[in-house]
């Protein structure tokens, strides 16, 4: 005697229902993705990061040559050539630490206003710590629209070394 598969039907149907629910969640995710990263946002603009330098937070100046590695107790800042961008474009720049948390920024503001300043984007030591976190720090120069970042115009990274 061969029993029918009726006893498994409810399991099979539950599995299909879960699969459908999973698909719905993933489609919702895709909708969110397209909402916040709509197609056609690229303008072809590109900003120029001149370099990353050792930074004196008291004097608010940079010193020495551009570098890609820093001791963790050495503050640093990037110099961005804002003047190379159209003056009316709203832009900003943000450092992200090795945990991908924001670690210092300038803007958003029209490029002309930022170009009138020193062009520096200093990073900030995370609150409660004595030095920067070791690892890779990434600077993103971003274009803004309606108050939200919509395009990456430049990117650079430096390494904060392990050490005391």
């Amino acid at each position: 005697m061969i029993r029918s598969h009726d006893d498994l039907r409810s399991l099979y149907r539950t599995m299909l229902a879960l699969g459908a629910a999973g698909l719905l969640i993933l489609v919702l995710g895709l909708v969110v993705f397209l909402r916040f990263a709509p197609l056609g946002q690229r303008t072809g603009l590109a900003a120029r990061v001149i370099g990353v330098y050792a930074y004196d937070p008291v004097q608010r100046t940079v010193a020495g040559p551009a570098a890609t590695r820093f001791p963790r107790t050495q503050p640093f800042a990037a110099r961005v050539s804002w003047a190379s961008l159209p003056s009316g474009v709203v832009v900003g720049a943000t450092w992200y630490d090795s945990l991908q948390d924001p670690a210092g920024s300038v803007g958003p503001a029209p490029a002309a206003r930022l170009a009138a300043g020193d062009g520096l984007v200093p990073e900030h030591v995370p609150p409660g710590l004595h030095g920067n976190l070791p690892g890779t720090y990434t600077l993103l120069v971003l274009r803004y629209a309606d108050g939200r970042p919509v395009e990456i115009l430049a990117r650079t990274a430096v390494v904060v070394e392990h050490g005391p």
């Binding site: 029993r3 498994l8 993705f33 916040f36 943000t94 090795s98 030095g131 990117r155």
Partner: protein, 458 residues
Amino acid sequence: MIEQAAYKRRWRPSRYWLAALIGGALFAVLVASSALSIALDSIPHRASLFGLPAIGLVVMATVFGLRAFRDREPAVRGRDLMVAGVLFGLGICSWLLVLDVFTFTQAAGPGVAAVSALACLPTTGFGLLVVRRLDRNEKEPWRLVLVAAAWGAIVATSLVIWAEALWDEGLGTRLVPGPALDVSSAFSAGIFEELAKGVAVVLLYLTMRDEFDDVVDGIVYGAAVGFGFNFMESITYMTHLYALYQPEGTSLALAAAAGQWYQRQVLGLFLGHATYTALVGAGVGVARQLRGLHQRLLAIASGFLVAIAAHFAWDAWAQFFPVSPASPLAVAEVHLRILVMVGPFTTVLLLLLGMGLHVEGTALARQLELEAEAGRGAVLPSEVAVLTSPWRRLGARLAAMARGGPVAYVRLARLQTAQIHLAMERWHRERQETDAPPAAEEALRRRVLELRAATASG
């Protein structure tokens, strides 16, 4: 015993070829990943030294493999091939372990990595123990449960490193920080990690059909893979955060690592990777007992879809709404968000497990009754009620121990296990979902009778 009886060479169906194809493709990906690790200098050259045992195992596997092809005697050839396969698998796992250890833990050093691993072992072991015990009728063999966990810890983590890095390079670096990047990262983790873990369950389904009976077994193997993955991932995060905060002081570094341990090995032990991959296992387990190919594929696809969605939902949520350490409700938030986001998926999984246990229990009770009615001596009418209840089985074993000591306990346990194996075999045969030769059932029956004789003589 089942293995010997069920799958003689001439009965091996095409699923072994499918498994070999999947295994070959994975091996190629792992070789490419391994070569890339060394080419990009992310693995120090001293790793080669630690990898020597792995090379030795692969050499030994080659020797046995060649010997198998030379040998004309099928029994000897089969044994050599088995040894070659096991040695080869051990060699690959050893090498991947070396790569994993260097990739994930070198920043903090071997001491911190070892302490992190020791901290995660008891919790992971506890998880495996609990999940294995949930399969109350026919527990899966430890060797397969541990192989599943090892796959999750070693193979799956190796598979996802480059997949996620390539996704990040191709898409992540083009997205501005914010919801789109968060969703992209969550998609990457959900898709690649669940595929890398789930393929272990699929391979077990294809190659170990005798030990993969139904949805309950699928959930057990899937969860085991998840525990293994969670084990390695916990060590990775613990060592990473320790290395980041160590320059600020050992106490801060320890607190950061301990926080990760608590989140991943306590809060997220069951509500995390174990749940996700168990959902894949549930889909594969349901497919195990379906006849139509399209139904089987739909069930497996559904398992993967819900697992990927569950993983995606958690990752996206955690990134959209991070818990601020400064918040006075931070501790409550950390607990609540995992309950709210993963809890429903775990609840659904427990529902599937309950349904599976009900179907399995009903089927086994019926088969045990039929076997007892047949009067062949393998199952006696008086034993049916005991065999269908885990508690009564335990009670009978304890009573046996009281009469005849631990040896009597072990003998009765073996007898009960063999009787349930027989009932399970009858169930699969009745449903025409086994490709074992009919002699397999008779061999199991003989085995039960031998064990009964041994129990009686003791």
